[in-house]
Symmetry: C2
Subunit: 420 residues, 2 copies
């Protein structure tokens, strides 16, 4: 059990906006101390001078399809429906477990290089993704993507298997979306939610056409439909939430459901812009995800946070629309709680050591008028100096400690050729 | 005169979309060879294995106010008018030459770290900015910001002084904007344009209120007004171009004027979104800038290029609206030609060695389905492995060769205290 001492640090715990000057100690997978430092007789395995850089909770990618890195820059000329049916589904049919293993590893490396310590991952061939996560050291929460084309029969098994697979891995009930899942199959998901008293997550109101289709089929919007079916009786949430009505927002607010935004994907696929400021104004639970690499195309949560602030400004015509701190909170604490990672939400004694270091010696982080604003408005992945998950340093100064990155690139480019 | 050989490179010249595998040679400030390599008896000062990373022209920041890094994250709660009059102008009144020198140096370091090799810089205390540029090694083109509050009397002197100051520095006629400059002063700018047969640049149609104000004052939009005054008789262009009418676009198209977009600043200040796709569809001359750090807040041209593609998608509802290559062209070649840097527009023998290396071993640059799309959609400053301007390597693997960056940070944070 390694003991690591970070000293000469500025610590943004995200319990509030204060910055603590001093030390953060890690023992094994947990944070054991945050403060100005004190006498101790701990045998340190590593003592790290932070040079007054910022320590803060790892970013949480609360919606992604990691294995989709195969599709990055591959089919950028389609809107969502054509993109799915013409470009993605035919290629996904060719994906083998080997493809998933390597393309997922690529995504996980990108997360680590971007300060993301946990992801809420919705894809298939779960065993290979779980293996990639455990080897990479990143925290993985599966969200099932069951739908009429597959996954319903394995949903309960997966729930039990991947909730006792590895300390880094957990699993949440989910299904792809109303428009790909029959009422019978959604009713089954609802039964499982009640059996396990478990939350359920799904794509929801991503495009206007999806909402209109649901109204044609059921007479109500997806959020109202799923709520009436009891799917959300034990919590959960939805991804995208671009075309939410006031009634949808009230369903999510009153049930305490999570709204997860994916601004880059929605912009690129021309799906619309989620009115993030309305969710904040209504005190709703919000988190942020990158979506998959095919529709983003980067997997940068920092870019998502930036866009969630400025797009809201643009929608309202008011430059003060969204408080950047609330967005940083959504990208860290919100994401953790959304995925059920209650021990990874903030930096505090007893919490998991899922920590990143922001490099304040990048020009875009200076001067230090307001560090939180600098992070949300001006940072990018070049400002991520270190990423630690579960007490292990996985990325530092541009190098990966747990991933043979050149091998990942070699394999991904080789396997890519099978998918053309 | 140093001779530098880049080998094992992939070279995106930006003359077209092809990528050349091989070598690029630099002698002094110029590119002397691009090709697969050949026998030679050159005494190389440096031979650099590019490891198949991409060499391409440096990005060109075609509109910025570099000295404004003092205002980063300082007053994020204002719309453009209040931001200018309540937050910025009172602080600018306190800026000394020393402030400008250090805050400009900070901006120039940020450009280099983001692959920007030239900037079109509109601010004051030109001598200190020019000194900062020459010391940093970056290519600087001044655009004058004369207006009713100052600068008109010095405009002609500045034109002559900074067009013969240093090979890295040049100067273009300009004024701040119609709404800050009297007709008499604009007429004087027009006279200078005719005297020197020189192009003129200015802020134009950034906000709806600016356009309405101009119509109240003169009965026409800013572009039409300035055109009728003869200001654009020898070319030039405008910054922002958010609220252009069809007539404005026709003025700019028919005169071959440059439209320079600043998406991040416009979003953050809630000024609107320029319909970039319309300018491309009309075959207009376009370039891209970051605007100042107070309203962006980063100075990343990569982020600007990304937004120019996806915001157009979002405006039209069509994911194929803008070809990323045309945006990359605007961010490199377009910017250079806009600023009069005809020798820095593409990589070719005889052109200036203003070159960047894209790090293809960042996860976001893989797999290599389409390298141009990867750059525009997925890159950030962490993908800039090297920046060379005028034949000198100024930034490499996160380190600055021409700037004492810790001293810059120390001075900026100290001088910042004068401005509160």
């Amino acid at each position: 059990m390694a003991n690591i001492r970070f000293y000469n640090a500025r610590i943004l715990t995200m319990e509030d906006q204060n910055i603590i000057e001093g030390e953060l100690w890690v023992s094994g997978s947990k944070i054991t101390y945050i403060g100005e430092g004190k006498a101790n007789d701990i045998k340190w395995d590593s003592q790290i001078d932070c040079n007054r850089n910022i320590l803060m909770p790892g970013l949480k990618n609360a919606h992604t399809h990691s294995g989709m890195t195969f599709s990055r820059s591959l089919a950028d000329e389609y809107s969502l429906n054509d993109w799915l049916f013409k470009a993605i589904f035919p290629r996904e049919a060719k994906l083998t477990p080997e493809h998933i293993y390597w393309f997922t590893k690529l995504a996980y490396a990108e997360y680590l290089s971007g300060g993301i310590t946990a992801c809420f991952d919705m894809y298939f061939h779960l065993r290979e993704a779980a293996k990639a996560a455990v080897e990479s050291g990143i925290r993985l929460v599966f969200c099932d993507s069951a739908n009429d084309f597959g996954g319903i029969d394995e949903l309960e098994d997966n729930y039990n298997t991947y909730n006792s697979f590895d300390p880094l891995v957990s699993f949440k009930l989910g299904f792809h979306a109303e428009y790909t899942t029959s009422k019978k199959n959604m009713e089954y998901v609802s039964q499982l939610a009640h059996k396990y008293k478990a939350p359920v997550y799904t794509h929801i109101s991503e495009t206007r056409a999806e909402v209109e289709g649901c109204k044609d089929r059921y007479g109500v919007t997806p959020a109202v439909l799923l709520d009436r079916m009891g799917i959300f009786d034990f919590g959960g949430g939805g991804f995208h939430c671009v075309w939410f009505t006031d009634e949808d927002m009230e369903v999510f607010r009153s049930k305490g459901l999570w709204s997860v935004f994916n601004a880059c994907s929605n912009l690129k696929l021309a799906s619309g812009i989620a009115p993030v400021y309305k969710f904040i104004d209504s005190d709703m639970k919000i988190a942020i995800g990158t979506d998959g690499a095919g529709s983003n195309n980067s997997l940068s949560l920092i870019r998502e946070m930036y866009l969630d602030t400025v797009l809201s400004n643009s929608m309202t015509g008011n430059a003060a629309t969204v408080d950047p701190y609330k967005i940083l909170k959504a990208g860290t604490t919100g994401g953790a709680l959304c995925m059920g990672l209650d021990d990874s939400d903030v930096l505090a004694e007893g919490k998991k050591a899922d920590i990143i270091m922001i490099d304040m010696s990048r020009p875009s982080m200076q001067p230090e008028n307001n560090i939180i604003r600098n992070i949300v408005y001006s940072a990018d992945n070049s400002c991520i100096k270190m990423t630690m998950a579960d007490g292990k340093i996985l990325y530092e100064d541009g190098k990966f400690t747990s991933v043979d990155i050149e091998e990942v690139y070699r394999m991904c480019n080789r396997l890519q050729k099978d998918l053309v």
